[in-house]
């Protein structure tokens, strides 16, 4: 299936087995044992009541829940294995069916490298608009995360200003991680309902989805849980993301870290299914290793890449879609490290067909947005996209006729077969393949071309506008939340 102005990976030829079925089972059993014996913290009155009503052992004082394996397993089975993320433009609806890898932007950045001046500064609402608009035009980006924080808007309704800004500048699906309390979640749902013409239509056309972090080790955040329950009630796809990091918020060893993160996500997901059986949910993860010298969340390095590949195997085991953190880097500017970490994390998460990849555009451990980085990340995604097609072997691709035509010696430049297939070769936008002398006179590189492309896109691209009345109604909803 192909989408309007969206490039997704599908029907892959490459495969990778990072975990055997036996190993997955071991992690699953460890997970159930953790949930039953150690417990998971659910600091939400509503969540604890749901658990209690469903036969879990609840420690109200510590807010820790211990649950028998069969309750968890039965609940998870109720989750739909496939569904769609709707978009304002139905031609951009995304299938989460295990056969599509959809790239999103990263989210919640706090600083931006200004698109014009190149200076680093605090992020604002206009950045949210600009990024959404560029993402709308960029085929590699299939959906949005709210890329940066609109820090010039009031704290209590910030997440809503951001959502409105994205919807006004793009027709693609929006997923937010900036809505993590009941008040904002309620308003966000109302806003989404405006687009599809009613709350009852959201289940059929969820133009919004929610991502909530778990609180590793083995906990959740109260506001996030309550927001997730609200979303699940109306059929808005919701996922819990674990960021358990080796040696700080999770065990140092990767298997143990996977088990801890899995326990958080699976327990949270089970809660949503117990409350609203059949609610669309997804597994989300961005596990990594901590830096042993600073404790920093690295978001890169070999452990990170392996987690990227391992997690979809777990999500497949539970038969729910996965949203996987990729493209994270500790690099301070678009450089060798950023390219390396972006490439390997994205390759590993794609080769196992993670349904959603998050996301392009960030530097400095998910803090600084760079438009150049966004464009170059998109090129990396395109390369991985091409690689995933693998090598097609058939009569046409074996090219026997032109091999005979050319014979020993000569060249293939004049062959019809070449002309027919040449556009299948990957044409990079940002790779330097010029003569040395040309580079020598200009001394420019990918970063210059990428920022030029971003500027041009921002200047030229006109997204389909959102109905003015809807905008006004959204404004009213936002006002009602502001103090």
């Amino acid at each position: 299936m192909s989408y309007k102005n969206i490039k997704t990976i599908s029907n892959p030829k490459l495969k990778l087995e990072v975990l055997t079925q036996d190993e997955v089972k071991k992690i699953h059993e460890a997970t159930l044992q953790i949930i039953e014996k150690v417990g998971v913290r659910f600091p939400s009155k509503r969540a604890l009541e749901i658990w209690e009503a469903n036969g879990a052992e609840v420690d109200h004082e510590k807010k820790i829940v211990r649950v028998k394996p069969h309750i968890i397993e039965d609940a998870i089975k109720k989750a739909p294995p496939a569904y769609k993320l709707a978009a304002r433009d139905p031609q951009q609806d995304l299938q989460l069916d295990g056969n599509h890898v959809n790239l999103g932007t990263d989210g919640c950045g706090v600083e931006v490298i200004d698109i014009n001046t190149g200076e680093k500064r605090t992020s604002c609402l206009q950045d949210v608009r600009d990024i959404a608009r560029i993402a709308d035009a960029t085929e590699e980006v299939a959906f949005h995360w709210v890329a940066v924080s609109a820090q010039d808007t009031p704290v209590e309704a910030r997440g809503l200003h951001e959502l409105k800004a994205v919807w006004e500048n793009s027709t693609k699906h929006v997923q937010t991680e900036s809505v993590y309390n009941v008040e904002e979640a309620k308003a966000a749902i109302e806003m989404a309902a405006l687009i599809v013409g009613g709350r009852d239509k959201l289940r059929e056309r969820p133009v919004l989805s929610l991502m909530q972090c778990t609180a590793p080790p083995l906990g959740h955040d109260g506001g996030s849980l309550d927001a997730a329950l609200l979303a699940a009630e109306v059929g808005i796809p919701t996922g819990f993301m674990t960021m358990a990091a080796c040696a700080t918020t999770g065990p140092t060893t990767m298997a143990g870290n996977l088990a801890v993160g899995n326990a958080e996500v699976i327990a949270g997901t089970a809660l949503l299914q117990l409350a609203y059986p059949g609610a669309p949910v997804f597994y989300a993860a961005a596990q990594t290793a901590s830096d042993l010298k600073t404790g920093a969340y690295t978001g890169g390095g070999p452990e990170d890449f392996l987690f990227g590949a391992a997690t979809n195997i777990l999500a497949d085991f539970y038969n729910i879609p996965l949203s996987m953190g990729s493209f994270a880097t500790g690099a301070k500017e678009p450089n060798w490290q950023a390219g390396l970490e972006g490439s390997l994390s994205t390759f590993m998460a794609s080769v196992v067909m993670s349904d959603m990849l998050l996301g392009c555009g960030f530097l400095h451990g998910s803090r600084i947005w760079s438009f150049a980085e966004m464009m170059m990340d998109c090129e990396i995604f395109s390369i991985v996209h091409k690689m995933m097609e693998g090598i097609v072997v058939n009569d046409e691709t074996l090219a026997m006729e032109s091999i005979a035509n050319v014979g020993p010696g000569g060249h293939y430049l004049g062959q019809k077969h070449t002309r027919k297939h040449m556009r299948e070769l990957f044409m990079p936008k940002f790779m330097d393949r010029r003569p040395y002398s040309e580079w020598e006179t200009k001394k420019d590189d990918a970063r210059d071309w990428a920022i030029t492309k971003a500027r041009k896109t921002l200047k030229e691209h006109q997204p389909d506008v959102l109905d003015e009345n809807i905008s006004k109604e959204m404004e009213r909803i936002i006002k009602s939340v502001e103090k």
Binding site: V110, E111, T122, S123, S149, Q151, V155, R158, A215, D221, G223, A245, A247, T248, T249, S290, L292, K293, T294, G295, Y297, G365, R367
Partner: protein, 218 residues
């Protein structure tokens, strides 16, 4: 005899072994060794060694954290003895540390706490999601000279300002100094909210804290 004990004490801190640290501390009391000397000639040597190794990139955070915990365990055993003698270990300052209300990011704050304790500060770590009144209340209760606040969300960093405004309203600064940190915290923000200090990492936090309590040379 005591030389040998001191060596073992330093070693158990280096090994991050709280059980042995407690055992040795108890033994030193039985042997009527002076508690302050036990600390300075024994356990502290281990902490300093790990600190140096960490600075050199030879030791890592988990070793530092465990050394800190073993040290704490030993001191807890010796503290009552010190009090009996009417002596107290000289601390660089008293710090109340917390992640602000609405924010559950924990690791950065905890590391700052670990480094501050390891460097000779008395630290009360209130944990995450802490409202202004709790933070200020605790600071007054223990007569703290420093409040450290962590915030990792753009929506919660405003709480740092609230605490500072409250302190100013009560006329509690400069008696209590305030330092802040966390992912969205920039120098601009620090100036804007009139915080006394800021650091991007835990090592830097120690230096800032020392400066703020007037012990920058230690």
């Amino acid at each position: 005899m005591s030389e040998e004990m001191y060596k073992q004490m330093a070693q158990c801190i280096i090994d991050g072994d709280s059980d042995i640290a407690i055992e040795l501390a108890k033994k030193s009391i039985e042997l009527k060794m002076h508690p302050l000397e036990t600390i300075t000639k024994g356990f502290v040597i281990g902490v300093n060694y790990i600190g140096d190794q960490f600075g050199l990139g030879e030791a890592f955070l988990p070793e530092l954290v465990m050394a800190g915990e073993a040290m704490k365990a030993a001191v807890a055993v010796l503290e009552p003895e010190l009090l009996k003698l009417g002596e107290a270990r000289e601390m660089l300052g008293r710090v109340v540390l917390a992640t602000v209300e609405g924010d559950i990011h924990e690791i950065g704050k905890t590391l700052v706490g670990t480094m501050l304790s390891a460097s000779g500060f008395e630290v009360v770590d209130l944990g995450v999601d802490q409202p202004a009144d709790k933070i200020i209340g605790k600071a007054l209760e223990i007569n703290a000279n420093l409040i450290g606040m962590s915030a990792l969300l753009t929506t919660t960093m405003v709480r740092q300002r609230e605490v500072i405004e409250e302190l100013d309203k009560e006329g509690l600064r400069p008696r209590i100094k305030v330092m802040v940190g966390g992912a969205p915290i920039t120098r601009d923000w620090v100036t804007k909210i009139k915080a006394d200090g800021y650091s991007e990492d835990a090592i830097g936090a120690v230096k800032v804290a020392k400066d703020l309590v007037g012990k920058g040379d230690q």
